[in-house]
């Protein structure tokens, strides 16, 4: 069994989706953790310091390359699977099977993923591109160090209600994507023991609610003026 044979089989393609998915879940934890520093409400001192730490250290920078590769792998493989799976039934049913046994979001992972991808493009153009490639205003931290002022960029960006709405919609798409993806990825990786599945299901729903909710609260907090 060659590697190519493994990863081009239907089960292998799902293993790719699951492994990259789990990595992206881990990334979300780091991302939400760093961004939550805005609620220190200290004019962005802690947040800018944390963001700068990730930006200038070699380990996060290497992980960033991996993150991009895994994102692309997850997106490309996901879209290919969606197209392939749809092609397996050329003539559809007159009466649809509906929600029996399954939830709408578990059947709409392709759509939800595409919405997240659109959001991701906007999101990267908003913050990642300015921070990495174009000129960005700097701010002096309390220890005299000059760092990119991502905080003020967030503050400025989230004064626009349309941007806030797009971000909240992006987070809702993410929530439903995770509601199915979290548990499903572990089952794809072969977890079938009842006790672990029950645990992963609860953990998955909790993660799918908490993480996107915290993310969504960030633009809302700036817009509402809860953080200055």
């Amino acid at each position: 069994m060659t590697w190519a044979q493994v990863f081009t089989s239907s089960v292998g393609k799902k293993i790719t989706m699951a492994l990259t998915g789990v990595f992206l879940i881990l990334f979300l934890i780091v991302h939400v953790g760093v961004n939550a520093c805005i609620w220190f409400n200290d004019g962005g001192e802690v947040f800018n310091r944390a963001a700068n730490f990730l930006g200038e250290n070699v380990v996060p920078r290497i992980l960033e390359i991996g993150l991009f590769l895994f994102f692309i792998l997850h997106i490309v493989q996901g879209l290919m699977l969606e197209v392939q799976n749809r092609s397996k039934r050329s003539i559809g049913y007159a009466v649809s099977y509906g929600n029996r046994g399954s939830r709408w979001y578990s059947r709409s992972m392709g759509l939800l993923g595409t919405l997240i991808l659109l959001f991701l493009i906007i999101h990267l153009a908003d913050f990642w591109v300015p921070s990495r490639f174009t000129h960005m205003s700097e701010v002096q931290l309390s220890d005299g160090k000059n760092v990119h002022n991502l905080y003020s960029l967030m503050q400025a960006r989230f004064q626009n209600p349309f941007i806030v709405i797009i971000y909240v919609l992006g987070c809702i798409s993410l929530a439903y994507h995770l509601a199915h993806g979290f548990t499903s990825s572990f089952r794809t990786l072969g977890v079938h023991n009842k006790r672990y599945i029950a645990m992963l299901r609860s953990l998955g729903y909790a993660f799918a609610i908490i993480v996107p909710l915290v993310f969504a609260m960030m633009p809302v907090s700036f817009y509402m003026g809860w953080v200055k």
């Binding site: 069994m1 239907s10 799902k14 009466v95 029996r100 059947r107 794809t188």
Partner: protein, 254 residues
């Protein structure tokens, strides 16, 4: 339950053969007993069509007691009709009421091409079984059934998986036309028993390979299959298949 008669409108898929395009045909059936099975209702309709000199509706059936896996009708949006854990032949007309309109379609999947009307070609399943859904035993005297000890828990799980009758309802219900519930039931059944252990790696690889070759989709764990399975095979088996595949492919020697 009280007996009653009913008049029904049936919208049935008619298709001459695999090449020609099919269409829905509407039929009225009258005085159908609530005690009849769904297939008996079709028998009544077909007798009527024959007496009128028309072509009777082709549908698959054999044992008519819910164990052979031949019957395959997609009724009002669900394989095997509205009841849970049930085959079409065991679906009785008391599931419907007077005046109902019932839409009957064949299984829809490119891997299950329509042969005629409601009959689809499910030989893809046979080829998946031929690829690895067996154990190799040298011939000779039959070994005593209890010679190899089997843990009760595993025996029960293997038996539950072995209950799969290979009807294809899982494929029909799945949005991806995936055959994973079927294949996982067969893989699990043998992987859980000592008799299946010697070939467990080659089996899962061969069966998944054949499944892909037949043109079934990939599993996305929507669990629609489990909800429609007449034998209520659990999607846990799919996760087990994934583990078997993971071990056999990624943890293989070469």
């Amino acid at each position: 339950m009280e007996h009653y008669n009913m008049n029904l409108t049936l919208k049935v898929w008619r298709q001459k053969n695999s090449q020609e395009k099919g269409k829905f045909e509407t039929h009225r059936v009258e005085n159908i007993s609530s005690e009849m099975s769904f297939l008996e209702m079709f028998d009544v309709l077909n007798e009527k069509l024959i007496s009128e000199g028309k072509d009777p509706i082709a549908f698959d059936h054999d044992c008519r007691e819910g164990i052979c896996g031949m019957c395959s009708m997609y009724i009002n949006g669900k394989p095997h009709g509205p009841w849970k854990g049930n085959t079409v032949c065991q679906l009785h007309m008391r599931a419907f009421k007077d005046g109902d309109t019932i839409v009957v379609e064949p299984w829809r999947a490119n891997a299950f091409p329509v042969i005629k009307d409601l009959v689809v070609d499910r030989s893809a399943f046979d080829r998946i079984i031929q690829a690895g859904g067996f154990i190799s035993v040298n011939t000779g005297n039959a070994v005593d059934a209890n010679a190899i000890p089997v843990e009760k828990d595993n025996a029960d799980k293997a038996f539950a998986a072995a209950a799969c009758i290979g009807c294809g309802a899982c494929v029909a219900a799945c949005k991806n036309s995936s055959a994973m519930l079927f294949v996982s039931a067969k893989v699990s059944h043998l992987a859980l028993l000592p008799q299946g252990d010697p070939e467990r790696k080659s089996r899962v690889l061969a069966m998944v390979h054949q499944m892909d070759k037949e043109g079934f989709g990939a599993c996305t764990f929507t669990e629609a299959c489990e909800a429609t399975c007449p034998k209520e095979i659990s999607v846990t088996n799919i996760a087990r298949l994934n583990q078997e595949y993971f071990r056999a492919s990624l943890a293989a020697d070469k």
